[in-house]
Symmetry: C2
Subunit: 197 residues, 2 copies
């Protein structure tokens, strides 16, 4: 199955939170006959991300196509979006039809506030574990890369969205497709300056 | 030292090739009093990346500020840019004043063609090693995450730009700054579906 993926962005979304999943899903579906990864914002205006990168959405909450996979990034804009009933309502409705509903970093707060992750096991950025516990009823796990509970998958901070998205590719398109995507992205990470060196 | 970082983009630049370094350098310099990471394109028009993401540049080849670190991404647009004398000439001139000149993935081809990496040891995406050997006089290494030769640092495919950028942060701002940046990005990668599982 080639999934239709919707990645939600808003002012203050953290860049790598959503471009990591964008790259993984776009690479995995690169041979699809039609566009399968969509950048979705509340309106068509340019979005200014947390670190200043400006991106143009492909569609809006009103014009977004049917979506199999939802991705909600984090970033400092999340605090404002936690009060955005238009976005929260849209997420709750679209989550019903989606196969997988995912978040990266502090984006987990939006899944909890929208009622999508109520009573579920979730994770978020290490600095936000207590904050997330205060947002709604959920079981917040620390020290994990990503957590799956039913169709909700929440990733830890920023770069964890890459690992989570590869895992989802494997679930939806098969493990060989996930491995080939990883190979195309040459994702054999080697972070420098390990703590014990 | 808080470096001024210039990330060059063009139609067909691969998204994660440049957003990985963008995120690393922007996180490392997030407390700087002025903007220190700049997205640079030939002109001010929106840039359509390799997988369809549209981004707005911060400045153009003409208006870019002084730059300590240059980052050149890869992507299918590289084949066209290999013939773009305006860009190649700009890269060659700016490389003279820069402290570090870097590429990700097939962006190495532009450093070689611009004369910046002539006779140097370089690397690129695994699928492009032979192609790079044909572009100009250089020693192409396989199976390495990134290669430093003088002030030129070339990374392997796509995701390797994250590791390379963290290494550069350590060289320019100190190893503690690099480790703290890595912690903020929660960059403890755990790729799923290892080949032997």
């Amino acid at each position: 199955m080639i999934p239709n993926v919707g990645i939600v962005v808003f002012d203050g979304a953290e860049e790598l939170d959503f471009v990591g999943p964008w790259e993984v899903f776009a690479m995995a579906t690169r041979d699809a006959p039609t566009k399968s990864v969509h950048l979705i914002a509340e309106d068509a205006a340019p979005v200014t991300c947390a670190k200043g990168l400006r991106v143009l959405p492909d569609c809006t909450l009103s014009t977004a196509p049917r979506l199999d996979i939802l991705v909600v990034p984090g970033g400092r804009g999340v605090r404002r979006e936690l009060e955005n009933q238009a976005l929260l309502g849209w997420l709750a409705r679209r989550a019903e039809d989606a196969v997988w509903v995912t978040s990266v970093c502090t984006g987990a707060g939006l899944l909890v506030r929208a009622g999508i992750a109520t009573h579920k096991r979730v994770t978020t950025h290490w600095s936000w574990l207590e904050t997330l516990r205060g947002i709604g009823s959920c079981e917040v796990l620390a020290g994990v890369r990503y957590v799956r509970d039913g169709k909700v998958v929440t990733a830890a901070g920023v770069s964890a969205g890459i690992d989570m998205s590869l895992w989802i590719v494997g679930q939806v398109m098969g493990i060989d497709a996930a491995r080939e995507t990883r190979h195309m992205l040459e994702y054999d990470p080697a972070p420098p300056y390990a703590a014990d060196v």
